[in-house]
């Protein structure tokens, strides 16, 4: 026999979930697709024909999936199944999710890891209750690519006008959920129209067939270039070594890297990466299950995140979250659960039900309770401060899950962010934006962010900010500048220069910057913000997309420039508490960017700043902010 080469490495299969209302044709679609693409094992086709005959039917494609006796007797799919499937060289796994209402939790079980969804809609019936419910769920589990399969168009004789009218209704529904469908495919699963081959009955349709649409689903984006998150799964003591194990959720580790450990913030270096039956490892990336030793030999707890010092997760004891509720009884304020996030578990109590989605029209309303299998936004009070990243579709961030006392999963909680916790303001519940950050970023072609410029009076902050603004605007970036003087002329005109007023000035600037950044803008703040505490406050308010930029101009140069004559006035005693003269300026020890202004031209400096900002807001950039 000839030598057979070792099989080449393959990409992992792309999971695709098929959802839609009961009887709109999901199982038929899958059966037909597998048949059309010649993906069925020998035994299966014979089985279908045999089963169909026994029941006196012509070939019934859905029997392929409804392989359990109890399902066929009921005529509904009980649970999700996974079927491998190949288009060209690309592997897919089709996840079939049930349409029957009480089986929502089975659908989530199948759908949560899908890369794309096919929403099957009977073109004659249009959107039904489960169409809306499943679409809502696609949004909450963060599926970004939705192919709408307009099924059964043969019934109205492939009429273009009727198909397009049905499309308009579905588009409207999906837009309410901020889902931009990738494509509509008018088709008939039973007849095989626009499945694997182009239908000759709809010459007016120029879009892709279903298989073409599936083949165009982008491969999952790598999480390896994001800042590190390694949740500790367990700690073993083998021989004399203490070994910390876990799966890297995003980012990468390398022997020698310094990491911060958990909410307590101890620091350690990755001393070694341990493995068995592999070549010695010095680095590992997102997706790998690793075992490491730490130096010093600190003992983390299960659930502690390992993360880089300059990209910490958010910390809070009060969190806002979306919720898909899986219990058959309603949820009320005051109920307690365990919130699982990666390998962590926290005791939480439902502090508020902020809004509940009405499924008839997908609008949000205040409510006393979340109904069985309902969708809502709620506020959770955590028994301790916890670390988390807000939920971002396409990553493992912020995938919270509520479990009851018996460790049964009762709800999914894609975390939104820190909830307002200031005493006396508990009744205030900020509303999350209706448009997701990711969608905004996609539309604009860049992320939002806050670039907080600090430095002495006269350091050149405002000038540089305006220069950078010009350059970024010319590149099509949505950018604005908040500078100290402008703020004080308007928003902060009621404030003086006392310590408390300065701090309030910083708080307002940061709050405005955050709102702008959440709307997708790049915000350059030019504010002296002289103390470490000021800037820490701003960083906390803004969250993850905060960049501290130190305009490092020596005081002598500032005083010499004195563009507004303020140093002179302060020296003459006409101004009190002037930073750099009789009030201290605490230079940042580790800014995200340090910009010197004395040894480069203004153009060079502005160009450098603009480049830094452009890199930081790229769609694939590592730094990400709290989501809406």
């Amino acid at each position: 026999m000839n030598t057979i080469p070792t099989p080449a490495p393959q990409d992992a299969a792309t999971p695709i979930v098929i959802v839609g209302h009961v009887d709109h044709g999901k199982s038929t679609l899958i059966g037909r697709l597998l048949y059309d693409t010649d993906s069925l094992p020998e035994g299966r086709v014979a089985q279908i024909i045999e089963s169909s005959k026994k029941r006196g039917l012509t070939v019934e494609w859905s029997f392929l999936l409804d392989s359990l006796q109890i399902e066929r007797d009921q005529g509904v799919t009980v649970d999700s199944t996974r079927i491998p499937f190949k288009l060209g060289n690309r592997q897919f796994v089709i996840v079939d999710a049930p349409g029957h209402r009480q089986f929502l939790r089975n659908m989530i079980t199948g759908a949560a890891d899908a890369e794309a969804a096919v929403l099957v809609v009977d073109a004659n019936e249009g959107a039904q209750e489960q169409t809306r419910r499943h679409a809502m769920l696609l949004r909450l589990i963060g599926i970004r690519h939705v192919i709408v399969f307009m099924n059964k168009v043969d019934i109205f004789n492939y009429d273009q006008k009727k198909v397009e009218a049905a499309e308009r209704d579905i588009t409207k529904l999906l837009h309410q959920l901020e889902i931009e469908p990738t494509v509509f495919v008018p088709a008939s699963a039973r007849e095989g129209d626009n499945m694997a081959s182009r239908s000759d009955k709809m010459p007016w349709y120029k879009g892709p067939t279903l298989t073409e649409a599936l083949a165009a689903v982008p491969a999952p984006s790598s999480r390896a270039d994001l800042p590190l998150r390694l949740p500790v799964q367990d700690v073993y003591r083998f021989d004399t070594k203490r070994i910390v194990v876990g799966r890297i959720e995003r980012g990468r580790i390398r022997v020698g890297d310094e990491v911060v450990i958990g909410v307590h913030g101890a620091k350690a270096r990755i001393a070694s990466i341990e493995s068995w039956h592999t070549a010695p490892q010095v680095a590992a990336i997102a997706g790998q299950s690793v075992a490491v030793t730490l130096e010093p030999d600190v003992i983390p707890d299960r659930g502690d995140f390992l993360f880089p010092a300059n990209h910490a997760p958010l910390r809070a004891a009060r969190i806002r979250t979306r919720l898909f509720w899986l219990r058959q009884e309603p949820l009320r304020v005051g109920e307690s659960f365990r919130l699982r996030l990666a390998t962590a578990e926290h005791q939480v109590t439902v502090a508020a039900i902020d809004s509940v989605v009405r499924l008839e029209d997908l609008t949000e309303h205040p409510a006393e309770e979340v109904p069985p299998e309902g969708f809502a936004e709620i506020t959770l009070a955590v028994s301790e401060t916890m670390l988390f990243d807000p939920f971002v579709p396409g990553t493992a961030d912020g995938r919270g899950v509520l479990v009851d006392r018996n460790q049964q999963i009762v709800g999914g909680a894609p975390l939104i962010g820190v909830a307002e916790s200031v005493a006396g303001r508990n009744a205030i519940h900020p509303t999350g934006s209706a448009v997701s950050l990711w969608d905004r970023a996609q539309a604009k072609g860049h992320r939002g962010g806050v670039f907080w410029m600090t430095g002495l009076p006269g350091a050149g902050k405002s000038t540089l900010a305006r220069e950078a603004e010009n350059r970024l605007f010319a590149r099509g970036i949505d950018v604005s500048v908040l500078d100290g003087d402008t703020l004080r002329a308007g928003l902060c005109s009621d404030l003086g220069f006392s310590e408390a007023d300065r701090r309030e000035n910083v708080r307002r600037a940061a709050a405005v910057a955050r709102i702008l950044a959440e709307s997708g803008q790049v915000v350059i703040v030019a504010l002296i913000s002289p103390t470490v505490a000021d800037r820490e406050l701003a960083r906390q308010i803004v969250g993850e997309g905060f960049h501290e930029i130190f305009i490092d101009t020596p005081q002598a140069t500032c005083e010499q420039r004195d563009p507004k004559g303020l140093y002179a006035a302060a020296r003459a005693g006409k101004i009190e508490g002037f930073t750099g003269v009789d009030a201290p300026y605490e230079a940042p020890a580790k800014p995200d960017l340090r910009v010197g202004t004395t040894d480069a031209t203004r153009d060079e400096t502005a160009a450098r700043l603009a480049t830094y900002i452009t890199d930081a807001i790229r769609l694939d950039a590592a730094s990400r902010r709290q989501t809406s």
Binding site: I4, P5, G43, I70, V78, T109, A112, R247, W276, Q408
Partner: protein, 264 residues
């Protein structure tokens, strides 16, 4: 990371979850290719060790090659081996078709071992692509009283969060290979050099694709005598892996009835 790296990483994550959450824990070792891969993955997860016992539920009707393999690798891999036997076929539900009835002996033997060692978790090497009923499984699959699998009332399982109930009389079946396909198993065996019983390789034009009891398992026509040749054969094969397992063909629901009662 290629697809095998991803499957390996996910299985290691699952094994470490089981080891952390379920005590006492044991792994089923049927001596077949899948459970050898599973043992190998455990050694990857725990850096060369298998920190829990392995269980062989012995029907007494396995092939001699399998018993020899078991004894050899128990020593070589430093395994803590628990052996259990199965009741005679006369004690098994007579309404089951003959081969399924024979297979059900193993279910009874397994139940007895779980009770004897008061196990909270049992790791088993089933895969979704083997059989339609297994496709419905969860990674962590709780079994209620009488070891029953309630297929219509399974817990939700998503975002790598698994049900780990702490109820008396409930144990959890853990399935680290659920997402693997037959060909992935073979490609991984090839990549890692995992030892196998040689019944899987062709002698005189026949080999076993799946190993069960001698009396209810039959070999297939094949010339594949190395792992690479088996892979090449699978890439063109369109018959199902368990075609040689008699009980799968007796009636539409025989296999499901076995599984509801606790069969793997």
């Amino acid at each position: 990371m290629d697809d095998l790296d991803q499957l390996e990483a996910q299985s290691i994550f699952i094994l470490r979850e089981a080891y952390r959450k379920l005590k006492p824990l044991a792994m089923l070792w049927s001596l077949g290719k899948d459970s050898n891969v599973m043992l190998w993955l455990a050694r990857k997860a725990f850096l060369g060790r298998v920190p829990f016992p392995v269980m062989h539920v012995d029907t007494g009707k396995k092939f001699p090659e399998m018993y020899k393999f078991r004894d050899e690798y128990t020593k070589k891999w430093n395994l803590e081996l628990l052996l259990g036997d199965c009741p005679p076929v006369e004690e098994i539900d007579p309404t089951l078709p003959p081969a399924a009835r024979s297979a059900a002996r193993k279910t009874a033997g397994l139940a007895a071992m779980i009770d004897k060692y008061k196990l909270a978790g049992v790791i088993a090497g089933i895969r979704r692509d083997e059989q339609a009923t297994r496709a419905k499984e969860r990674v962590f699959s709780p079994r209620g009283s009488g070891h029953k699998w309630d297929v219509r009332n399974q817990p939700p399982e998503f975002w790598d969060q698994y049900a780990t109930p702490h109820e008396a009389g409930v144990h959890v079946r853990v399935h680290p290979l659920l997402s693997w396909r037959e060909i992935d198993i073979w490609r991984y065996i090839e990549r890692e050099g995992i030892p196998l019983v040689d019944l899987y390789f062709s002698k005189e034009g026949k080999r076993y694709r799946s190993l069960g009891d001698q009396d209810i398992t039959s070999p297939i026509e094949s010339d594949a005598s190395t792992v690479a040749e088996v892979i090449a054969e699978l890439e063109t094969s369109r018959t199902s892996e368990r075609a040689g397992r008699a009980m799968d063909h007796e009636s539409e629901d025989a296999f499901e009835r076995l599984r509801v009662a606790g069969y793997l």
